[in-house]
């Protein structure tokens, strides 16, 4: 299984480069988050509403997302005012500090919205037995990958190659498309792993040694809740792969802050802000991940009397298939233009 995982990760690293080179027949995005249509509009038509946007969220998600958006808009206004101040060189240090704090809070709120790898990581953790520490680590990797992918993308393309902002936003869209394809691939690999005989997959927190658990009751040091010590090493690679792939899709909020700061000659401030935003994003993703692990524990307790290796395997398989479906659906939606890439 391990060489297969390596192959998938390698393909995922090469794929974005191939995509960037080949430029799939995907409409290029304009400056206003909408695909570019060739030729002038002979008659200005009513705005085309993407199908997905007509959906209305049920409460309480609508209220939560709405509140997060309002707070985010206020923070963003603050962030932009400070970026202006930093660009004008009056009180640069103070402005930079405020930018970093505002970026951190922005990251926390921004990640409440869709995207940012929460679905993938939460699906993974909710259907597998994992320690809370693993949830925190995965959230950290997702956020760090996301911040770094934005800095590297803008750094290499804009600073080194002098690419325009619009092209960079489009390249980021390509990277997003590739990252969703890879997430689907990773999900398939996990599904095969779940079907494979042997003790590799612990499943949905259903302790495969229920008796064994009680036997350790009086020896806290050797307490075997997690059983991760029984697991072969590839699990770690699987988690790392999932977290990196979920974070590979750069956050357009970060890319725009980087492009704006670059246009004002303060790229370093933008990079610092992006990292601060990443720390904020990590907090939100961590909260969701820890919630997923907690939900798994609650479900395991409720289901414990029925716990069988078969059920654990089935739940793990479900998680893998959800991740596959999510990656495939997102990639298809972008490819068919149903949703705008990099709208996040």
């Amino acid at each position: 299984m391990r060489p297969l995982l390596r192959l998938i990760l390698l393909v995922c690293l090469v794929l974005p480069i191939l995509f960037a080179a080949a430029q799939p027949a995907r409409a290029e995005m304009g400056y206003f988050g909408r695909p570019e249509v060739s030729g002038p509009a002979t008659q200005a038509t009513a705005p085309v509403v993407p199908a997905a946007q007509e959906l209305t969220l049920p409460q309480p998600f609508r209220a939560i997302l709405g509140t997060a958006i309002r707070m985010q808009v206020a923070l963003n206004a603050q962030l932009r005012t400070r970026l202006d101040a930093a660009a004008r060189a009056d009180g640069q240090v103070r402005a930079a500090l405020v930018i970093i704090v505002a970026s951190f809070l922005y990251g926390v709120l921004h990640a409440v919205g869709p995207g940012h790898g929460k679905v993938v990581v939460a699906s993974y953790l909710a259907t597998r037995r994992a320690r809370f520490l693993v949830a925190l680590r995965m959230a950290g990797i997702v956020a760090a990958t996301q911040a770094l992918s934005a800095i590297v993308l803008v750094g290499v393309l804009a600073v080194a190659l002098g690419t325009t902002g619009k092209t960079i936003l489009n390249e980021a869209g390509t990277l997003e498309f590739a990252s969703y394809l890879c997430i689907a691939g990773m999900g398939l690999w996990m599904a095969f792993a779940a079907l494979r005989p042997g003790p590799r997959v612990c499943g949905c927190g259903l302790p495969h040694g229920h008796e064994h658990h009680h036997a350790h009751e009086h020896t806290p040091g050797a307490h075997g809740h997690d059983h991760s010590d029984h697991e072969p090493v590839p699990r770690r690679g699987e988690r790392l792969g999932i977290a990196v792939l979920a974070g590979l899709r750069p956050c357009s909020g970060a890319i725009l802050v980087l492009l704006f700061s670059l246009a004002n000659g303060i790229f370093a401030v933008g990079a610092a802000a992006t990292l601060a935003m990443g720390v904020g994003t990590a907090l939100t993703v961590a909260a969701v991940s820890v919630g997923a692990v907690g939900a798994n524990r609650v479900a395991a307790m409720a289901g414990a009397p029925l716990a069988t290796a078969w059920l654990g395997r089935a739940v793990a398989l479900t998680g893998a298939l959800i991740i596959t479906a999510f990656g495939a659906a997102a990639a298809t939606a972008i490819a068919t233009g149903m949703i705008a890439p990099l709208a996040g």
């Binding site: 400056y31 206003f32 988050g33 909408r34 249509v37 002038p40 509009a41 002979t42 008659q43 200005a44 038509t45 009513a46 705005p47 085309v48 509403v49 993407p50 997905a52 946007q53 959906l55 209305t56 969220l57 998600f61 609508r62 997302l65 958006i69 932009r80 202006d84 660009a87 004008r88 921004h110 919205g113 869709p114 995207g115 679905v119 699906s123 909710a126 002098g162 325009t164 902002g165 619009k166 357009s252 909020g253 492009l259 704006f260 670059l262 246009a263 004002n264 939900a295 479900a299 409720a302 289901g303 029925l306 479900t318 998680g319 959800i322 999510f326 997102a330 705008a340 709208a343 996040g344």
Partner: protein, 202 residues
């Protein structure tokens, strides 16, 4: 068995909740303060003169794409204005310039945009253009509503403050404009209530 069903339901619910908002993801990345002057000729609403003032960061990014190395305070040469028109304006025509007009609740159409101009106010880029209504509508017969917003919320368009002054109607028309939240047309998964303009004429 009951526990098992309970458990499966719980997991499904949790995961579908996580998946639900994943369909699309857009936050405002561009901010626009707009002003609009409806043209009323012979009692009929014939066109909208719009003015969009972009936030300073988006302005600087656009201008750096149009003229690499552009810095705030620089001039807008005719070449830059042409570049903005071709690369950062025309495509909006395919999306109705994010402008919608309803007469008696029915959505109206526009002809091609006219008179594009780009200027600077401080470090903010300003677009001006005219959208002719096709056909013209009669605001005396039924109230006319104007909505300037991006349903995907990538661009946050709001009337320039104070919002009552964001709409300039010809005094001789006797028409009145009210600017306020349009609760019947929420956008972005129902989370954002946009601002609409309602015009009533005697």
């Amino acid at each position: 068995m009951v526990e098992r069903i309970h458990f499966v339901l719980f997991s499904t619910l949790l995961l579908s909740c996580a998946l639900l908002p994943a369909a699309a993801d857009a936050h405002p990345h561009v901010w626009v303060d707009y002003r609009v002057s409806p043209r009323i000729d012979g009692g009929r609403l014939t066109a909208l003169d719009e003015e969009w003032v972009f936030d300073s960061q988006f302005s600087s990014m656009l201008l750096n794409d149009a003229a690499p190395g552009w810095r705030a305070g620089g001039a807008l040469t005719p070449a830059i204005v042409r570049h903005l028109h071709d690369h950062a304006f025309m495509n909006l025509g395919h999306y109705g310039f994010f402008t919608q007009v309803w007469a008696g609740g029915k959505q109206e159409g526009f002809g091609p945009s006219r008179g594009f101009a780009a200027t600077m106010t401080g470090d903010r880029l300003v677009y001006r253009f005219t959208l002719p209504l096709k056909p013209a509508v009669d605001p005396r017969k039924e109230p006319v509503e104007i909505g300037i917003w991006d349903t995907s919320y990538y661009v946050d368009l709001e009337p320039a403050k104070p919002s009552a002054k964001a709409v300039a109607l010809p005094a001789e028309s006797g028409c009145k404009a009210t600017v306020g939240p349009d609760r019947n047309r929420p956008i972005y998964f129902g989370t954002v209530i946009p601002t609409a303009i309602r015009i009533t004429c005697p």
